[in-house]
């Protein structure tokens, strides 16, 4: 079966430097793949290339069987929903109307119905009529997640969906993304927190300086040699009842033990 999201030899430049350097990557239906890597490794660029926001200088980005560049904007949006890291909304629109913007191809009432369903899915139905400017950052993040869900696209591209959220909100967002993957969507999400990535993803793709450094099951892709080479961490994975936990220290400081997980407020990757 054709993967929902494909990059083949994807190369792109961003402000004079190489953002992507021959990236190969595929995400199939029903799969949740986490993109990790240090700041500037190309996580956002991978997502933006697939969303049609970053033109490639070489290689190809595909949504299903069609190249991103060959699709009309509307078709592209129907194949891949986009969850931005930026959570600023210019006007004080009610949450339900923001969520309805995820389904612009539906008629008004259907779009609003889809929006209400999506808000319920992220436990934000009580916020439906509240203005987004009167919300906390966490509430607005859920409304924007609902907007991405309202599209019911084949694939979902989420750029740092848990950045700057409380731990419980981070878990809620990842839980819902997992549920979407189980329901058959192809979900590609960039994360800073390696422990969260290892716990929630079916597969982890490690990016380093615009290249794929590792791609495989979480603990394999994030094996100690990769942690050392890409992240400069001397770390190991500890099995716990809640899943794997990364214990590590900065590489240069030797082998003391310190937990480096727990959602660092992330920047654009």
């Amino acid at each position: 079966m054709t993967p929902a999201l494909t990059l083949q030899g994807a190369t792109a430049r961003l402000g004079g430097r190489t953002a992507l350097d021959g990236v190969d990557l595929a995400v199939g239906a029903g799969e949740l793949v986490a993109l990790v890597g240090p700041n500037g490794a190309g996580k956002s660029s991978v997502l933006r290339a697939l969303a049609g926001l970053l033109p490639l200088t070489a290689g190809v980005a595909r949504l299903g069987d069609a190249a991103v560049g060959a699709l009309a904007p509307r078709q592209r949006a129907a194949r891949a929903a986009w969850l931005p890291q930026e959570r600023r909304i210019a006007w004080n629109l009610p949450a339900v109307e923001v969520a309805a913007l995820g389904a612009p191809f539906l008629a008004g009432p259907q779009a609003l119905a889809a929006a209400r369903r999506a808000l319920a899915e992220v436990e934000a139905d009580h916020l439906a009529d509240r203005g987004v400017a009167e919300m906390s950052g966490g509430e607005r993040a859920r409304v924007l997640l609902a907007r991405a869900f309202a599209a019911d696209a084949a694939a979902l591209l989420a750029d740092e969906p848990v950045a700057g959220l409380d731990p419980d909100a981070q878990l809620l967002v990842l839980e819902r993304l997992r549920a979407r993957a189980r329901a058959g969507q192809a979900v590609l999400v960039s994360l800073h927190d390696l422990t969260l990535a290892a716990r929630c993803a079916d597969r982890v793709v490690v990016l380093d300086q615009g290249r794929v450094a590792a791609d495989g099951p979480p603990l394999q892709a994030l094996a100690p040699p990769v942690l050392a080479r890409v992240f400069g961490l001397s770390g190991r994975w500890i099995g716990t009842a809640d899943g794997p936990l990364l214990s590590g220290t900065r590489y240069s400081e030797g082998s003391g033990a310190g937990v480096v997980s727990s959602g660092s407020p992330a920047e654009t990757g």
Binding site: R76, W82, P84, I89, A90, P94, L101
Partner: protein, 331 residues
């Protein structure tokens, strides 16, 4: 839900506008008796009839059209630039339109029909294009306002330079008076060409409305959601430039209506920049018709210029909105 409240608001505004229009026709500097009013209604070519139907009516209609054009233009610009301080006056669109029109006048092209109007339109379009280019490269909303202020100052200085160098002081004085902003002595001929310009701008703005709503999420997200940004920019810019250019060509520079009108009705449409357009145009029309009546009945030796009047009311309002926006932007 909000759509009915937005529509109800538009109905109320239209009703208020009709009342204000009636007042603008009935009230004026020359006090008429009941007999004269009756005369004017029965015989439009009587002295009173001419005052009502050939002087006050076209003036009120032009005031309404100019207000609608500015209210629409302000709403479109605020939506496109995602900035509550955007306004054709503040950002220099009116000033550049006025500069272009003044150039046409000084070059002696005023006698050729349509040239001054087209010059104003071209000036407005050029300013709009510069603003969009700037806002695509610099994201900060404060920086955009500063750029607009610079553009406005520059266009003002260039206009002053023209007067400075102009050989004919009489032409200069005339243009100067027009630049202050007024709808005095405007005729049905003026109303006749402003109306189609405003209607065309409204149609363009209506086509841009869904895109403006999507743009609330930011340009990148809107593009990823299937919005063709290039098309939206062209539609919105043309709408704003056409409306502002027409307003400036017929009435000179009238500031702050484009800023205040969207602001007055935004809460009623719950912030939606698409549904804001029609109420904002109506609110702008209402504001200018009322302002023109007030300017006419204010007992001064020289009649108050409409542009002076709106600036006196509008500038403090701008400061208030800026203060609120600054808190929102956490400056």
């Amino acid at each position: 839900m909000s759509p009915p409240s937005g529509r109800r608001l538009a109905l109320w505004l239209a009703l208020a506008l009709a009342l204000a229009g009636a007042a603008a026709v009935l009230v004026g500097e020359s006090a008429l008796t009941a007999g004269q009013y009756a005369d004017a209604l029965l015989r439009p070519d009587s002295g009173a009839g001419v005052v009502l139907w050939q002087v006050r009516s076209p003036r009120a209609v032009v005031a309404g059209l100019v207000g609608a054009a500015l209210g629409l233009s302000g709403a479109v610009m605020q939506g496109l630039l995602r900035n509550p301080l955007a306004d054709p006056g503040v950002l220099g669109v009116s000033a550049l339109a006025a500069f272009a029109a003044a150039v046409a006048v000084v070059l002696g092209l005023a006698a050729v029909p349509g040239v001054v109007e087209l010059a104003a339109l071209a000036g407005a379009a050029a300013a709009g294009g510069l603003l969009v280019l700037f806002s695509a490269r610099v994201r900060s909303p404060e920086a955009l306002i500063l750029f607009g202020v610079a553009l406005s100052s520059f266009a003002g200085a260039a206009t002053a330079l023209i007067f400075n160098l102009s050989p004919s002081p009489i032409a200069s004085a005339e243009v100067m008076g027009w630049l202050l902003g007024s709808v005095q002595n405007r005729s049905w001929i003026d109303a006749g060409w402003v109306l189609p310009a405003v209607l065309a701008a409204a149609a363009l703005a209506a086509a841009a409305a869904p895109g403006l709503r999507m743009l609330s999420l930011g340009e990148e997200t809107a593009r990823a959601s299937g919005l063709p940004m290039g098309r939206l920019r062209v539609l919105a810019l043309l709408a704003a430039a056409l409306a502002t250019g027409a307003a400036v060509a017929v009435a000179g520079v009238i500031g702050f209506v484009g800023l205040a009108a969207p602001h007055l009705v935004r809460a009623a449409v719950r912030g939606d920049p698409g549904r804001l357009l029609a109420p904002s145009a109506l609110a702008g029309a209402l504001m200018l018709v009322v302002a023109d009546v007030l300017a006419r009945i204010t007992p001064t030796d020289q009649e108050l210029k409409l542009g002076v009047f709106t600036a006196l009311v509008g500038a403090p309002l701008f400061a208030l909105i800026a203060w609120r926006a600054a808190r929102e932007w956490r400056l």
